[in-house]
């Protein structure tokens, strides 16, 4: 499997915040959701990935080129939507398009015009007067109309209303289906990523907690109701993320890497499995972070 983005042993420090031993692999053609709570290091990782910041050590390879040495060549093939609007607010929409287009040889004016209509943006509108939703749409338009091989989107729908969010994501999915581009999208809106991503990476406190295909992440995390559980779970075939006491002899276990044949484990330890509850991505994400932060809670 080839990777559009490969990060190895990345280390970066700014004040008290630190990224340590970060390794990320984004398969080419995938939609990779980068999850993490606020302040976990998602934006910093993205800025390092694009060569906007310089790491202390480690290697970053994007679209086959080394960052930051080959950053200009990489950036010419990458559409980037940053967390905060960053465009020059004294320009109009038309001027912002002309400015951006001048730097990208692959810029597609026909499609840019089409997206302007689709997003209902007026050419003569000043950027300072755009609403948050309109600015979000313009940022996405600029990233898409340069026809990139890689889209790096840092919380692109954060703070947007549902209608605008749908417009932006529809345009993104249309593009990906046409171009087979790779998308790296960071967000803390877990349900949004659940719908569109096929890979997920979870980051917390400057470290990657896990990275796996979305289906494994979604199907592998379960909440189990266990009757007469053992005091010490011993060598479990799954990863026990958390166990909480319930009423009497009933406990709730949160596990990762669950598969149906693993039910036999409970008979072996004198317990019985009463119920298996599927967790959605958000619940799984919360449990994962809780275990990561308090490893002693788990097995």
């Amino acid at each position: 499997m080839s990777h559009a983005i490969e990060i190895r042993d990345l280390q970066y420090r700014a004040g008290t915040f630190e990224i340590r031993d970060l390794a990320v692999n984004v398969p080419t053609g995938s939609m990779y959701g980068f999850l993490g709570p606020n302040g976990s290091g998602k934006t910093t990782t993205i800025r390092l990935m694009l060569g906007l910041l310089r790491p202390i050590k480690g290697t970053i390879t994007v679209l086959g080129g080394a960052v930051p040495r080959e950053s200009p060549r990489i950036l010419a093939r990458t559409g980037y939507v940053p967390e905060q609007p960053h465009l020059y607010t004294s320009l109009t929409v038309a001027e912002a398009l002309a400015f951006h287009a001048a730097f990208y040889p692959t810029w597609d004016w026909t499609w840019a015009t089409e997206l302007l209509g689709q997003f209902q943006l007026r050419r003569d509108q000043g950027l300072a007067r755009l609403s948050k939703g309109e600015m979000g749409k313009l940022e996405m338009l600029l990233a898409l109309a340069q026809r990139p091989e890689l889209l790096v989107l840092d919380e692109p729908t954060d703070g947007l209303d549902p209608v605008v969010r749908r417009d932006v994501l529809t345009a993104l999915l249309d593009y990906v289906s046409q171009q087979n581009a790779t998308v790296f999208i960071s967000s803390h809106l877990v349900h949004e990523l659940e719908r569109i991503c096929d890979w997920v990476g979870v980051m917390d406190r400057g470290r990657l907690v896990t990275e796996l295909p979305m289906h494994s992440f979604k199907s592998g995390i379960k909440r189990l109701r266990v009757e007469h559980p053992p005091a010490l779970p011993g060598d479990t075939p799954f990863v026990l993320l958390a166990r909480e006491g319930g009423n009497g002899s009933l406990e709730t276990w949160t596990v990762r890497g669950w598969q149906a044949p693993m039910q036999q484990y409970f008979a072996g330890v004198g317990a019985s499995l009463r119920e298996i509850v599927d967790l959605d991505l958000e619940e799984g994400f919360v449990e994962l972070l809780r275990t990561f932060r308090e490893p002693s809670t788990g097995a």
């Binding site: 694009l50 200009p72 990489i74 950036l75 905060q84 465009l87």
Partner: protein
């Protein structure tokens, strides 16, 4: 690419450029206000030249102000966006800085041209006594060179972070304070003079700002 950068800088600084341009046009005209060729004795000519020279002090001040304001407006929007947009553009950092510098230089040509036009108009409108000449082109070229030197310095400082600007100002302020303390302590040590000589006396980079800035001279 350059045209787009030039356009953005023009848009950010056009009002300031208009004001500076008007001042640049008016300055040569104002400097010849007191020139009356009739019944000028030797003493009157010397007085008139002294008046022109006094006005001449404003040329380096205006060149410095134009350069400072232009350098600040060049980097202001990028600073406000924490340089994220500029850094995410697919060109090397040095290339981007060079384009911005070049665009600023092109815009500086406007006040220089206004000084030249103003000086030409002032020269044409003034009936000089024998022995005196006007130097509109030399004055404009000198103004342009001073503005360029000042722009290069302010551009470099503005391109850095607030911390960089703070360090530069801190060093200058520190030297001034040190000199004051040495003066109060009645020592013969002078830390500023050697530095000022290196900067303002040929071949110092700021030599262009010194000397007589005269539209009219012998």
């Amino acid at each position: 690419m350059f045209r787009q950068l030039l356009y953005t800088q023009w848009k950010w600084s056009r009002l300031v450029l208009l004001v500076i341009g008007l001042a640049a046009f008016a300055l040569p005209l104002l400097s010849v206000q007191g020139v009356r060729p009739d019944d000028l004795g030797r003493f009157d000519v010397e007085q008139m030249l002294a008046g022109v020279q006094t006005w001449g002090l404003l040329y380096p001040v205006l060149a410095t102000a134009a350069a400072l304001i232009l350098a600040m407006t060049t980097w202001g929007p990028d600073h406000r966006g924490k340089h994220i947009y500029a850094l995410s553009l697919p060109i090397p950092r040095w290339h981007y800085a060079l384009l911005r510098f070049g665009a600023g230089c092109v815009l500086l040509a406007a006040p220089v041209a206004m000084v030249w036009i103003g000086a030409l108009v002032a020269s044409a409108a003034t009936n000089l006594p024998a022995g005196l000449e006007t130097y509109p082109t030399i004055l404009a070229l000198r103004f342009g060179l001073a503005a360029l030197v000042a722009y290069a310095a302010f551009f470099a400082i503005s391109a850095g972070t607030n911390r960089t600007a703070g360090v530069v100002l801190g060093i200058i302020g520190g030297l001034v304070v040190a000199q004051l303390i040495l003066l109060i302590a009645d020592t013969n040590i002078n830390v500023l003079s050697p530095l000022l000589i290196r900067l303002f006396v040929w071949p110092g980079p700021l030599e262009i700002f010194t000397g007589r800035w005269m539209l009219i001279d012998v």
